[in-house]
């Protein structure tokens, strides 16, 4: 665009590579070696296949693999379908706007908190059963029915869907949020195509490339999730990821070799799920290509629209209700079946815990803000440099950036921990910050690269024509124009940072405690009150971020009509 130097790779590219690929690859190595029997600390210094053999002798391993694969894939595909159906049927309507307002903040709900709340909602002694007991159901004691932890992983799949729908929804919304797309909706309708048909035949093929990566990230995440699986998932046997964590923590230290081998297997499971998804994607594309031009204008319009709406409203209602229930629990003293509301309250404990958590809150907010700012700044720098050089290596860079999202965390965290330890760097704020960045940066990049690319290049050209320097164009033109997406990216990044459990625990060595590590520790004692309270704190921080991201631009741009166009 402007001058275009041809020297080696730009500084931000190198920086991001070192920051992302370095830890991930080193971490992987630290996992691969023990998987093949090399862990000198335990006196294993030769290579062998013993850990793999031991792994495959574990009872129920095949079931675990299948569960990880199937629940993860099913949850991802279901979430995507729900989001697409809802967007197809309702985009642009008043209903859509109202529900959007609910869905965005739900993104800040941590997985574990959502799962705890959901578990209390649907358990046989949970809120829904209490609502109808005993007056309508006749149950004076909870029925002995298997809802949570069912062997097929249905509850777990539902939990994942409830959590992934808001994420995919926002990603889809961002992809839709361009003027041209709205025109295509009109074009379809003026040719007589129904909303749903227009969306799937005309709009989706155009925006799908933009939401594909988030979907892949969801597949990778859902096939290797630990916390949701531990709360809602089956246990006889459990999916692979939670079993891995328990092997890692087994007092019998030789299990660690097997756990490393398991981490590699987890990588294979996630890869298989991703492969299956991509194959399915291709199949759908081929089949629908033939159907594209048959002229069928309605795809069971009404059923699709109201079905999509019903599912979406149910998900939002379940999530909101779960959060309200968490709120009640945090102040409850006794709340036994079949009472619909707590029988006794204890607000003092709420105040106590809050008081005790101030230090934690400080660390958590510190980490969240620091990693959000660094990740966003690096992403902006990277994007600016890429534009400046019209770099063709952006595809490779993209793969690099998303590596931490597509690889299951546990497959390289143990190795990462060793890396930090050998650098004598673990247990410090900076070390944890670096570890967070590995996971925050991809999300920042994911959320920011699209708005950046969509920014009309003519603004920069116009500024350059007036003689503005590259720096001035960035600070005075691009950044202000991108204020809203940048703020949203800051909020998303902060939310991702707050949600990190294993990295904080393993790199922080316990010396860096956050609201999240604390709430998992408390949840291990099963105290719903304490867990609820910290879960609320945990979701409060990113929520503040999202609210600020929504309010600030409105305030700053209150006299700029064109800046308020979005949404």
């Amino acid at each position: 665009m402007l001058t275009s130097p041809k020297a080696g790779p730009a500084i931000p590219v190198i920086l991001v590579s070192v920051l992302l690929a370095g830890p991930v690859l080193a971490g992987l190595l630290g996992t691969v070696l023990p998987a093949f029997g090399y862990l000198p600390a335990l006196g294993h210094s030769g290579l062998s296949l013993a850990p793999l053999q031991q792994l495959f002798q574990q009872p129920g391993l095949v079931t675990s693999l299948w569960l990880s694969f199937a629940t993860g894939l099913a949850a991802s595909v279901l979430s995507l379908m729900i989001v697409l159906l809802f967007v197809a049927g309702w985009s642009g309507t008043r209903t859509f706007r109202h529900l959007t307002r609910f869905l965005s903040p739900l993104l800040s709900v941590p997985h574990a908190a959502a799962a705890i709340g959901l578990a209390f909602l649907i358990a046989p002694s949970g809120f829904l059963v209490r609502l109808v007991s005993p007056w309508a159901s006749g149950w004076t004691r909870p029925p002995d029915v298997l809802i949570l932890n069912d062997p097929f992983g249905i509850a777990m799949t539902m939990g994942l869907v409830a959590k992934e729908v808001p994420f995919l929804f926002l990603m889809t919304l961002a992809a839709l949020n361009r003027p041209q797309i709205q025109e295509y909706f009109k074009a379809g309708a003026s040719l007589g195509y129904g909303r749903v048909a227009t969306f799937f035949t005309i709009v989706l093929p155009q925006i799908y490339p933009l939401i594909r990566l988030p979907v892949l990230a969801v597949v990778a995440y859902a096939t290797s999730v630990v916390d949701v699986a531990a709360i809602l998932g089956p246990t006889t046997p459990a999916p692979l990821a939670p079993r891995l964590v328990s092997w890692m923590n087994d007092p019998d230290l030789t299990y660690r070799l097997m756990a490393s081998a398991g981490a590699l297997l987890q990588l294979a499971v996630s890869a298989a799920a991703l492969g299956t998804y991509l194959a399915g994607e291709r199949l759908v594309a081929t089949v629908s290509k033939r159907r594209l031009v048959t002229g069928h204008r309605h795809l069971q319009e009404r059923t699709a629209r109201y079905g999509g709406l019903l599912v979406m409203v149910t998900i939002i209602a379940a999530m909101v209700l779960s959060l309200v229930l968490l709120g009640l629990w945090s102040a409850a003293r006794s709340w036994w079946f079949p009472a619909v509301l707590p029988q006794a309250w204890n607000v003092m404990r709420l105040a106590d815990t809050l008081g005790m958590s101030l230090g934690l809150l400080g660390t958590t907010v510190g980490l969240a803000c620091a990693s959000a700012f660094i990740a966003t700044a690096l992403t902006l720098w990277l994007l600016e440099a890429r534009d400046h050089r019209k770099s063709s290596s952006s595809r490779r860079l993209k793969t690099l950036v998303f590596l931490p999202l597509l690889l299951p965390q546990i497959s390289f965290l143990f190795g990462l921990q060793l890396l930090f330890l050998s650098a004598d760097f673990s247990g410090t704020f900076v070390a944890v910050l670096l570890a967070h960045l590995v996971f925050v940066l991809p999300y920042a990049f994911l959320a920011l690269s699209d708005p950046w690319d969509r920014l009309d290049p003519r603004y920069a050209k116009a500024a350059a024509a007036i003689g503005a320097s590259r720096a001035r164009i960035f600070w005075q033109i691009r950044l202000p124009l991108l204020l809203r997406p940048v703020l949203v990216v800051l909020a998303v990044s902060a939310a991702v940072s707050v949600g990190q459990y294993l990295p904080t625990l393993m790199i922080g060595a316990g010396r860096i405690a956050t609201v999240t590590t604390e709430s998992v520790a408390l949840a291990s004692g099963g105290s719903r009150q304490a867990a609820a309270l910290l879960a609320l704190l945990q979701l409060g921080i990113p929520l503040v971020g999202f609210v600020l991201a929504a309010l600030l631009p409105a305030l700053l741009h209150r006299n700029r009509a064109a800046m308020r166009l979005e949404r």
Binding site: P59, N249, R256, F337, M356, S426, G525
Partner: protein, 407 residues
Amino acid sequence: MKRKLAAALGLLGALMTPVASPAQETVNDPAWQAVLDDAKGETVYFHAWGGEPRINAYISWAAREVAKNFDIRVLQVKVSDTGSVVSQVLAEKSVGKNSGGAVDLVWINGENFAAMKEQGLLAAPGWAQSLPNWRYVDVENKPTVVEDFTVPTDGQESPWGMAKLVFIYDSARLDTPPATLDGLLSYAKAHPGRFAYPQPPNFFGTTFLKQVLVSTAPDKAALTKPVDEARFAEMTAPLFAYLDDLHGALWRQGRAFPKDAAHMRQLLADGELDIAFSFNPSGASSAIANGELPPSVRTFVLDGGTIGNTHFVAIPFNSSSQAGAKVFANFLLSPTAQARKQDPDIWGDPTVLNVAGLPETEKVLFDTLDLGPATLTSDQLGPVLPEPHPSWVSALEEAWTARYGAE
């Protein structure tokens, strides 16, 4: 034999500590004085399971006390699984970090201790007996304070509290609790879906297996030794016959299990279960006190005794504040700290000390404790069944998982 050794060690410990007026922290032992001097200004990272707010509150109290009296800063690192602490120390050892480790003191027992000991992840033996307050420890009547799951502690961990498997029930629903394992079985069959045990490898689930094993194994002596693969099937046959019989009547037909004792408490409170487990004889009283369980809740044990053990604090080999960790461990052993810990309103964890042998001024602290409505007296609690050798733990867990955990 082992018990004799333990007693001898205890005696040795007592000899090493000159008799002194216990109420005061005046020190005539120059070695200990050196430790106290070393410890001044140190920060001790105490990695302790953080799942129970009451315990966390007790630890902060203890931290405040040592800060006041010994100028030591103790920070509790709340962990969800002690295994992750073992992992941390192991990871440090594997990169050759032999000092300046992240863990200064860890709350531990059983197989975690056995693993750390075996892998050389603990500070040198003997420090526990060198603590001034060791002289009050009831080595004679509580042999588990020096033998953790049959593994000699060798002074590499200092006892903190006593645990004994007890059962909690709601007297409003269950009139006469069963008194034997057979009674438990017939109760479960008569009330299908109202009994459960946490899923091994959860500590409480494994303890239930051990309880049945200890009561039914054909050769009890074999349990104190490492597992003999050849005889494992024979030894566990009665256990699995019992479980096979029980599983059809379990909560959720044994297709899902409670996660841990706290989850069981919750399920008991909600009326999903009729019986919950605890390792704390006054656990039920504490739960009544904080509104977690209804006031009608009571405790029972099985005839012939239940499994019991001791939990400890240990110092890793690369702890960065060994002196401070010792001073804190010593404080945790003091009669004041132990008495406060035994109070059900605070925590309710039984003491490791020999209360009868304490000086009058300290003894009264224990004698005046109100143990709560649902706590059994020490007579009612019955005998303590010793833990089998730690190798049984993973053997049982693996066998259980193969049989029930992977359908």
